[in-house]
Assembly symmetry: C2
Homo-oligomer: 200 residues x 2
């Protein structure tokens, strides 16, 4: 038998991050209270400060965790069998994965970008963001070599793609797009970017 369960079950730090992420996804950052969190986990309200110096540090950890999960989704989408097809299909698969994550974790994604935005953002977070967007970058470079995508700076093209994916997700989350038609709309948006707005 281990020590009596007067203290927490072992990994309060991980439990805090997990529960905080749940609350953020369900009700937004504004609904997150350290004291309530501590109550939920059965520890005193002072306990979290052992693992996070302040609330922002916990939020940063939640954001970091979010980027890890998003990265996993994107890597999975990029490695899909269907993703071995044309660049158009690869792009569509990644876009679906990104938008899915964004819609299912809207408040979390907002927190993730807000955390990254902070000047005092930990270096760990900046690195995680770069890694998160590495998968799409690779897909673009490969497509360029196959001649399916115009040559030129990869960053320029990646920027256009990431902006489109992120912006599309934001439009859905904001309720500017009918959720019913969002699937078809995303396909149309991907095709618009691939083919261009100008007639061919």
């Amino acid at each position: 038998m281990a020590a009596p369960d007067r203290y927490h079950h072992g990994d309060l730090r991980a439990a805090l991050i997990a529960r905080a992420a749940e609350v953020v996804v369900a009700d937004g950052v504004g609904a997150l209270s350290l004291r309530e969190l501590a109550r939920d986990l059965g520890v005193s309200h002072g306990a979290p400060s052992r693992h996070f110096p302040d609330k922002q540090a916990l939020l940063d950890a939640v954001a970091l965790d979010g980027f890890h999960r998003l990265r996993l989704d994107l890597v999975t989408a990029a490695a899909r069998p269907a993703a071995s097809g044309s660049f158009r299909d690869q792009f569509a698969d990644i876009a679906v994965a990104y938008v899915d994550f964004a819609v299912r974790n809207a408040s979390l994604l907002a927190l993730m970008f807000a955390a990254k935005h902070r000047e005092e953002a930990p270096e760990e977070l900046r690195a995680a963001v770069d890694r998160t967007f590495a998968a799409p970058l690779l897909v673009i470079e490969q497509a360029q070599r196959r001649g399916e995508v115009v040559h030129g700076e990869v960053e320029d093209i990646a920027t256009a793609i990431m902006a489109t994916m992120h912006g599309f997700a934001a439009l859905i989350v904001a309720g500017l797009l009918h959720p019913d038609a969002s699937g078809a709309m995303l396909t149309a948006t991907v095709n618009r970017l691939v083919d261009g707005l100008r007639p061919r």
Copy 2:
């Protein structure tokens, strides 16, 4: 002489919205306190509740005001002399205006989209959002008639354009794009969408 200045100067409601917007832009929604707001304006902490039933109602009003200001910027950009040129130039002008607003009012824009996102969002807000994005829509339709933009559903094309603008702004705000190169990068992104990722 009017009544002695024991009460507020006349339009506490407007003053609350204006000051709240300032605080949000400067330090984010999290830094907004009704009590501090009241202190800044020289009224008691209970006074705001005469004009807004709760904090969220004030935030909705701030968001509404933000959409009005954004709409003004977009309409101005669309009516520019240079904007009488090609669709590419019109699009670029509008995109610059949108990204400018987003960068200068990052936290406010986040609040605006979050407010729109709420299910209980007042009808007034939904209407303001539609009007805000009406100007870009008109530009697209005109360009379609001139044959500069592919035919098809205007909404599909507008979605691709709005997603790109909003997403680009989000990338800058998040610090994923070097601010120095952001001007050239925006031009490149606009051109990418106009010309397509696929070689011609």
